[in-house]
């Protein structure tokens, strides 16, 4: 992940603005400690889905580069799950596209979280708020 981040940062360094987002495995969820998190995905479709989301963002805002990295497999609390980096000539586009990508990733990319804690395993439930955040972009439209 560090290598990809460095590549985006280096490649876009002369272009004005970079907004990034990093998501981490929480140490607790709903007040229960998290021992580990297992990320399952749909091989092939996940890559296609992330590429489509980045491409859609690039049609809405004038971007120079967008990079999405999502980890799968077993992760420990505090580890990075997802990293998004967006480079643009102006900061408004960089911020908006970064948030847009994250919102759609949460609701469209075929990835599933299973938490292991003291009470055993459980599949993480979809948060209603995530759907609402995605909905927002339909109302706001591009640029």
């Amino acid at each position: 992940m560090a290598r990809l981040q460095a590549a985006l940062l280096a490649g876009a360094a002369t272009e004005g603005a970079i907004a990034t987002f990093t998501g981490y495995v929480r140490t607790t969820n709903d007040k229960r400690p998290v021992h580990s998190l297992e990320l399952e995905h749909y091989p092939g479709m996940t890559q296609r889905s992330l590429k489509n989301i980045a491409r859609e963002a690039a049609t809405r805002w004038p971007l120079l580069a967008a990079s999405i990295v999502h980890r799968v497999g077993v992760l420990s609390p505090g580890e990075q799950i997802v990293w998004i980096g967006v480079a643009a000539a102006h900061r408004g586009s960089a911020f908006a596209a970064c948030e847009y990508i994250m919102d759609f990733l949460k609701t469209a990319a075929p990835l599933w979280k299973k938490e292991k804690g003291p009470a055993g395993e459980r599949w993480v439930e979809t948060r209603k708020e995530d759907g609402e955040r995605t909905q927002r972009w339909q109302e706001i439209g591009g640029r």
Partner: protein
Amino acid sequence: MLRILFFARIREELDCATLDWPWPGQAIDLDTLQEDLCLAYGAKWREVLSQDNVIRAVNQTVTNDNCALHDGDEVAFFPPVTGG
């Protein structure tokens, strides 16, 4: 042949990750395939696959409606996504 995939909670509940389903030799749509699966595997499958929030994808694209299938298609059933 149709390649059928199940993910996450649905994969666990059906105890099945992938299934190679013989092409029936005649036009078939997604709803019919799902019904055929339930007839073949029984009440547990019907219960799991008929849950409200089951998402269906054909050739790695989510489809909200019924649609025609073709020999060689990849069909997937999965719960709402929770990545990120």
